[in-house]
């Protein structure tokens, strides 16, 4: 694969080296910008809350906080979901 890329690139060895470096940089950029942010939620460490789905479902439409009772004694535990990690 890499041998084929090297042979396909135009120019002499220096030009090939320069283009190769640019290709590597472009690949790393693409990984950091799109691929890794996408892959991240598939891993467990970003999980920091308790019962997250519950939590998000307690909010009203538009993300408004649910109306709280007198004194604001709301129980977030009623939130569906869990504690985020």
């Amino acid at each position: 694969m890499y041998g084929w890329i090297w042979r396909t690139l135009p120019g002499n060895a220096w030009v090939k080296l320069l283009i190769s470096l640019l290709l590597v940089l472009a690949t790393v950029y693409a990984l950091f910008t799109w691929v890794f942010p996408w892959a991240e939620p598939l891993l467990p460490f970003s999980d920091v809350t308790v019962d997250q789905e519950n939590v998000t479902s307690t909010t009203g439409p538009g993300g408004a906080p649910r109306p709280t009772g007198a004194g604001g004694a709301t129980s977030p535990a009623a939130l569906p979901g869990g504690l985020p990690g």
Binding site: P44, T49, P65, T74, S75
Partner: protein
């Protein structure tokens, strides 16, 4: 066969890069996000100062406005984590919000109110905000600099823990730790704070929980609370 070897080496390099991304780059992103959030907070605080006379006694201060989505509402300081440690807080605890700092559990009490002001943060990645939660001790202070007020909370010993331990380890489904009166920590209603983060550092099988009660609430104009001085 040579092509297969190249594929494996490539995969190995990509995985190493992912480790760099998680351990290092997310911290850079989080620092940038924090600078942005601090800027928004400064703007919001200036607006308040511009519209409100100073030196209003706390008793006469109007109730806080409800927090708005997508707007940070405060900065947290924890002297135990070091004088350089500060993180911004915004409503919501989804990954999107937690990438920008700490998150407030929507539906829980707002800072300084009756009930339980509940905050989540990453243990690892994105600046490791709650990395040192296990080092917190009973009596440590948690200071919130809101838009118009300082809130100082003091960490308590949960009634369910023995000795002088302040940090409870529990499971992610244990959402009752966020109750207005979390029964594992308190027996009577009050103005409480709850911090949650994950345990172990790189896992999500458990959660660490710390509770505290409101000790003081002063206008920003009154200056830094004693907990942040010295």
């Amino acid at each position: 066969m040579r092509g297969l070897g190249e594929v494996f080496i490539t995969l190995g390099v990509v995985i190493l890069l992912f480790v760099v991304y998680q351990l290092y780059w997310t911290g850079v992103l989080a620092d940038r996000a924090r600078a942005d959030e601090m800027h928004k907070l400064d703007e919001a605080r200036k607006r308040i100062v511009a519209t409100k006379p100073k030196d209003v006694p706390v008793a006469q201060m109007p109730a806080q406005a409800p927090y708005h989505d997508d707007e940070p509402f405060g900065t947290m300081y924890v002297p135990r984590f070091g004088s350089n440690w500060y993180k911004t807080i915004r409503p919501g605890v989804t990954p999107k919000e937690l990438q920008r700092g700490l998150g407030w559990y929507k539906g829980s009490a707002q800072a300084g109110e009756d009930g339980n002001f509940a905050i989540a943060g990453h243990r690892k990645t994105y600046g490791d905000p709650f990395l040192n939660v296990p080092k917190l001790q009973v009596g440590d202070k948690i200071v919130i600099e809101g838009i118009s007020e300082w809130f100082v909370y003091t960490i308590d010993k949960p009634v369910s823990l023995s000795g002088d331990k302040a940090v409870l380890k529990t499971i992610p489904e244990d959402v009752h730790v966020l109750d207005a009166v979390p029964e594992k920590a308190y027996k009577t209603p009050g103005k409480y704070i709850t911090l949650t983060t994950c345990e172990p550092e790189f896992g999500s099988t458990h959660r660490l929980i710390v509770w505290g009660h409101l000790e003081s609430r002063t206008p920003l104009a009154a200056g830094k609370p004693a907990a942040l001085q010295g």
